[in-house]
């Protein structure tokens, strides 16, 4: 597997790629209902520029956090995916949305890179450092009726 670089900051030059992953992502069609539920509860994400970087905001929801996956640390890196999350309560971090480029999806050319799994794993690593957090919860689960709760 190729190395992946994770960061919470994304230069504004990545705006078209981020918009494409978040808003025009054909992978997410099957999760349409779940995503819609999430939007109804939490609001619609917006991408805004803050200095040289991009920031994702969701309506009035101030606690949203995010993590980006890139194929390198260089300026010409490719954005591979993004995960949006927040701390739901003392014990749980909740994933609102996880999205990757088509090429890294389960049917894409680079499915073997397991970008979704690695994004969640990075969130697990980060969450381990936060006092009290015991689980990561996935807000939407696609085909599965039971929610996904990942032990830290």
């Amino acid at each position: 597997m190729q190395p992946i670089f994770f960061t919470g900051k994304l230069n504004k030059s990545f705006r078209p790629e981020l918009e494409s992953i978040l808003f025009f992502n054909s992978n997410q069609i099957k999760y349409f209902k779940d995503i819609n539920n999430s939007l109804e509860v939490f609001g619609y994400p917006n991408i805004i520029e803050e200095g040289d970087n991009l920031r994702i905001i969701i309506s009035e929801f101030s606690d949203i956090q995010y993590l980006f996956a890139l194929d390198s640390e260089k300026e010409d890196a490719t954005l591979l995916g993004v995960i949006l999350y927040f701390r739901e309560n003392l014990e749980e971090v909740c994933i609102l949305q996880v999205a990757v480029v088509n090429e890294c999806s389960s049917f894409g050319e680079f499915y073997d890179e397991l970008v979704v799994i690695r994004l969640i794993n990075e969130l697990k690593r980060i969450s381990k450092r936060i006092k009290g957090i015991k689980f990561i919860k996935l807000f939407y689960t696609g085909d599965f009726t039971q929610s996904i709760k990942i032990k830290i």
């Binding site: 597997m1 992978n27 099957k30 999760y31 996880v98 990757v100 999806s105 389960s106 049917f107 499915y111 073997d112 397991l114 970008v115 979704v116 799994i117 690695r118 969640i120 794993n121 697990k124 996935l138 939407y140 689960t141 696609g142 085909d143 599965f144 009726t145 039971q146 996904i148 709760k149 990942i150 032990k151």
Partner: protein
């Protein structure tokens, strides 16, 4: 030492549990040759996350061992261990019998 047969039964049990929550057209065939993730795979990324969580939990319940299928070690494998039921069983066998 946990045998390959025990691990196969564990994986099949988890898949059976999942199948009970899936619609008929999404059922995962209980066969070691079944492709799980990737080309012709039965699962998408979130399905795979679900399966991994289920297996980690079942390993803890049945074998009293705490494992992570997605840590750096797993990700450092040259081949994707989640490609098929068989590769997953082999990966689990390595992980379980090498852990303390």
């Amino acid at each position: 030492m946990i045998s390959k047969e025990e691990i196969k039964n564990l994986v099949f049990n988890v898949i059976e549990e999942f199948n009970s929550t899936l619609s008929e057209d999404k059922i995962i065939k209980l066969d070691i040759e079944t492709m799980l993730y990737g080309k012709n795979g039965a699962l998408d990324s979130l399905g795979l996350v679900n399966l991994i969580v289920g297996i980690e939990q079942k390993v803890e319940d049945d074998f009293n061992k705490s494992i992570s299928l997605t840590d750096e070690k797993a990700m450092s494998f040259q081949n994707n261990p989640f490609r098929s039921v068989n590769s997953l069983i082999e990966f689990l066998e390595k992980l379980l019998n090498n852990s303390n």
